[in-house]
Symmetry: C2
Subunit: 188 residues, 2 copies
DNA sequence: CGTGGAATCTTGTCAATGGAAAGATTGAAG
DNA sequence: CTTCAATCTTTCCATTGACAAGATTCCACG
């Protein structure tokens, strides 16, 4: 075993994402992650400072992944409904990231990358809603539409992940509920 | 100080709700709660078994409170929109409970009260949606409407609580977005 | 080539935590 | 008054997060 792991940072983040997805953020242990990676207990400190640092890095990575996912759906011409489906798909494929992203108590307040990544994701979402609202000038309040869209898909993702809502195909269900909110977009 | 605290169970749950609301479920310490209540560190064990037991009791209490809140809004004739507002109001007034309710990783799997309380809350929500859908026979899928309503208000509550959405009056905003989803209900 | 500094990782330590065992105190029913 | 169950305490152990100090390796520059 080499003294230098080579890619400890990524290895730890991946292990943390798995552990959070399986047992929740409260249950993860830096020492356990270090053991799985085959390094000593103090190795993670060098890369992340402390536990909050690791989770903050994970959250920032999550926001970047989310921005890419949503932007990809928009650029492929799916409309606002398919952007919502992409949001839920991201949450299902990266439950560990998703969990950490929306729990500020787990973050380091002094981190700079996290707010930047969050802003990128927010812009990606807002761009899609702006397109939709732009085609419907009678829709009075763009801000309300944006919050409604975000709330709907975020809530659905959360409820499915926590097991509160059990549905066979979450993405099909997302499409159905998003069309209730954005009927004009359904015919695209 | 009496040997018997008198109401340790409630005291600990209230302290836990405050601590979770302030610092998150990952940061709470049974010993710290015991100190605040003026008892030894092993006292909570008797009432809750372990940490998960305390959080499970908190979640069950939350579901009962939520059921009461939503049912109250329905019985006072507010319609489905005002039920959604009540849901968000519950989350804002009981952030500690709300946090714990939707994190199964924090719960004891063998608890029986929690599923029962959750079912009561689910019925309370479903009753309101059924009323709305009943007045709109053209609305094809009642199950989809129920999930859409729940997702919308749950997502909004979560986003406001985590600070992802900043809005002056969350209840007014909830009313606005709920009317987008249930326009027929707006004129009640 | 080789050397000095920076990056990476280890060992050792400390206070705090969750949990369990064993026992003390109290209330309540008979 | 006695006995029993409920409630709480004291004590102990393994684990954890964080930190300090030191070891090892890589790399850039001479």
């Amino acid at each position: 075993m080499a003294y230098h792991h080579g890619d400890l940072r990524r290895t730890l983040m991946a292990a943390a994402a798995d552990a959070v997805a399986e047992s929740g953020a409260a249950a993860i242990s830096l020492r356990e992650l270090a053991r799985r990676a085959g390094v000593s207990n103090a190795a993670p400190t060098h890369h992340f400072g402390d536990k909050a640092g690791l989770l903050t890095a994970l959250a920032a990575e999550g926001y970047d992944l989310l921005a890419d996912t949503v932007t990809g759906a928009r650029l492929s011409g799916g409309g606002i409904v398919e952007m919502g489906v992409a949001y839920v798909r991201f949450a299902m494929e990266h439950p560990g990231h998703f969990e950490v992203m929306f729990h500020p108590a787990l973050h380091r307040a002094d981190d700079e990358e996290l707010p930047a990544a969050r802003a990128r994701a927010g812009d990606a979402l807002a761009a899609g809603v702006a397109e939709y609202v732009g085609r419907r000038p009678e829709e009075g309040d763009a801000e309300t539409a944006r919050i409604a869209a975000w709330s709907l898909v975020h809530g659905h993702a959360t409820l499915v992940l926590t097991g509160a809502v059990r549905t066979g195909d979450p993405q099909a269900r997302t499409r159905a509920i998003a069309r209730l909110l954005f009927p004009e977009d359904a015919a695209r």
